[in-house]
């Protein structure tokens, strides 16, 4: 069984109107359980749209999305995935602990179990001493770790992330990438990760999906052969740079083609 299965999915906005936008055109993608897959591409290539289709926050115009062998709707209703965004999206009126408990509250867990799980999650993201703080008392990186703890609180098998580290500075970003890999290894979570950053995509992923705009489609899938264990040292290895080059070529080839085609889009 695949963790995520996208079959010939198209998504258009404003269908039938003069301002119709074809965000995705016949996209197919399979993600295996435990795999880390990044979606990369320029603005407007539909990577966030694809993520939202998997999350069932949007409905496809055509095609089929399956998550955990169920329809995307069923998977959402069963809370089969957790989600994290560029904004941590924590609730300022709730303490850190209460923020992490939110998905469990919605699942109807009782107070005792919620507290136990929240404590576990805080341990996992290594911020147990901040349980009773409020989100605005934390740094951006800490807030994002709490957001990840919240997304994983109900132990969903799948984590969907939309540029979660996009608003962080470079150092915090690299630290967070290491943390994310450690957390996912500890929990065995499958991840679909949207990003703008080539090194970030390569460092984190088993596979990098390169996408292109108008209409959004997959142009290339790069297998990253860096092995399971990734450390700070990984960033200095030849294989790391080779993978970066391959992804960049994928993106650039498309860019060149785009420029060559002329200004048909603007």
């Amino acid at each position: 069984m695949t963790a995520v299965s996208v079959r010939k999915v198209s998504k258009a906005f404003n269908v039938g109107k003069s301002n119709q936008v074809d965000a995705l055109h016949e996209v197919s993608l399979d993600v295996k359980p435990g795999e880390f897959v990044s979606l990369i591409g320029p603005s407007g290539c539909g990577k966030s749209t694809l993520l939202r289709l998997v999350a069932n926050l949007l409905e496809p115009t055509a095609g089929e999305v399956m998550v955990n062998g169920k329809s995307a709707v069923k998977a959402r209703l069963d809370q089969d995935y957790g989600m994290a965004f560029q904004q941590a999206g924590l609730f300022d009126w709730r303490t850190v602990r209460k923020n992490i408990e939110l998905p469990l509250e919605l699942k109807g867990w009782d107070k005792g179990n919620r507290q136990t799980r929240a404590a576990e999650m805080l341990q996992l993201v290594q911020l147990p001493e901040f349980a009773d703080h409020y989100p605005w008392q934390l740094s951006g990186g800490m807030q994002q770790r709490i957001a990840i703890a919240r997304a994983l609180a109900a132990h969903p098998p799948l984590l969907l992330m939309d540029e979660p580290f996009g608003a962080l500075d470079e150092m915090t970003r690299e630290y967070m990438q290491g943390e994310l890999l450690r957390i996912c290894a500890a929990t065995g979570t499958t991840v679909v990760f949207v990003t703008h950053s080539i090194p970030e995509a390569v460092y984190l992923s088993n596979r990098v999906v390169v996408m292109s705009p108008r209409p959004g489609r997959i142009t290339k899938i790069v297998d990253v052969s860096l092995g399971g264990e990734r450390t700070e040292d990984t960033r200095n290895r030849t294989a790391f740079f080779e993978a970066i080059t391959t992804v960049r070529e994928g993106l650039r080839g498309m860019h060149a083609a785009h420029v060559g085609l002329g200004n048909d889009d603007r």
């Binding site: 926050l57 959402r76 209703l77 069963d78 904004q87 999206g89 009126w93 939110l102 919605l106 008392q137």
Partner: protein, 255 residues
């Protein structure tokens, strides 16, 4: 201890300025020998305030009760209606522009019309007027708080398969609470002002507003000023109450 010192330090410039202001006022009246009908000295206003205190208190109770009843009724109705607005988009599109426009005009003059609907001694027109003024202030602000929630918050809730009711309870209402307290801070002084001013449009001569105008008419300027002082105090009381409410709400957040 430190906190108290800090508070005094913050309040000191205002206190010194206030003292200087009243000092100058008193001095100017004495030095230029200003006639009482032109400007009354603070000392004689204070004297009249003490002498007439029981009358002033009675009048303040009448106006204060009108303001309070209107404030409570307007807040309850405004909050209730804002839920309706946030639930039904078309209602929002119809009512919000109207409410915003009404907030910008002195609608309390409507009390003259309301007076015609009830008996001459009735307090109801004044209370209805205060209710209306408060209602629109609360409505506009709370509806904004209920609808202007972070899109990320809504997406997160939907990703957890949260129902509309759960989103209302866990996102929209907590988001709207600060808006409610801000609107109360605007509405509380507005309620008092409306209660006074509506007394100028007839009805029983029992509140602070009507006492001020009748004392002015009888050239009892110092007494009129004493009622003005009481009106200021009543307005301040309402404002401080709304600030206190807000700080109680914040207490949970600030550590």
């Amino acid at each position: 201890m430190n906190k108290a010192v800090n508070l005094v330090g913050k309040a000191l410039p205002a206190i010194v300025f206030g003292a200087l202001f009243f000092g100058f006022w008193e001095w100017a009246v004495r030095f230029f020998e200003l006639k009482p009908y032109f400007l009354t000295a603070p000392s004689s206003i204070w004297g009249e305030f003490i002498t007439n205190f029981s009358f002033i208190r009675r009048a303040a109770t009448v106006s204060g009760t009108n303001a309070l009843i209107g404030l409570v009724a307007g807040t309850v109705l405004g909050v209730a209606m804002s839920f309706g607005l946030s639930r039904f988009r078309f209602l929002n599109q119809i009512v919000t522009p109207l409410a915003v426009a009404l907030n910008a005009v002195p609608i309390f003059v409507l009390v003259a019309v309301l007076n015609n609907m009830y008996s001459i001694t009735s307090e109801i027109p004044r209370r209805v007027m205060v209710t209306l003024v408060v209602y629109f202030i609360v409505l506009v602000n709370v509806a904004r708080g209920l609808t202007q929630v972070s899109p990320t918050h809504v997406e997160i809730m939907r990703s957890y398969a949260a129902s509309d009711l759960a989103i209302l309870r866990k996102v929209r209402i907590p988001n709207a609470l600060p808006f409610l307290f801000v609107s109360l801070k605007i509405a509380a002084p507005a309620a008092v002002i409306t209660a006074f001013v509506s007394e100028y449009f007839g009805g029983s001569q029992n509140g602070l507003g009507s006492r001020i105008s009748s004392n002015i008419a009888n050239s009892k300027n110092a007494v009129a000023w004493a009622y003005v002082l009481s009106a200021c105090l009543l307005g301040l009381m309402f404002y401080l109450f709304s600030v206190l409410m807000e700080s109680l709400n914040r207490k949970g957040e600030v550590k």
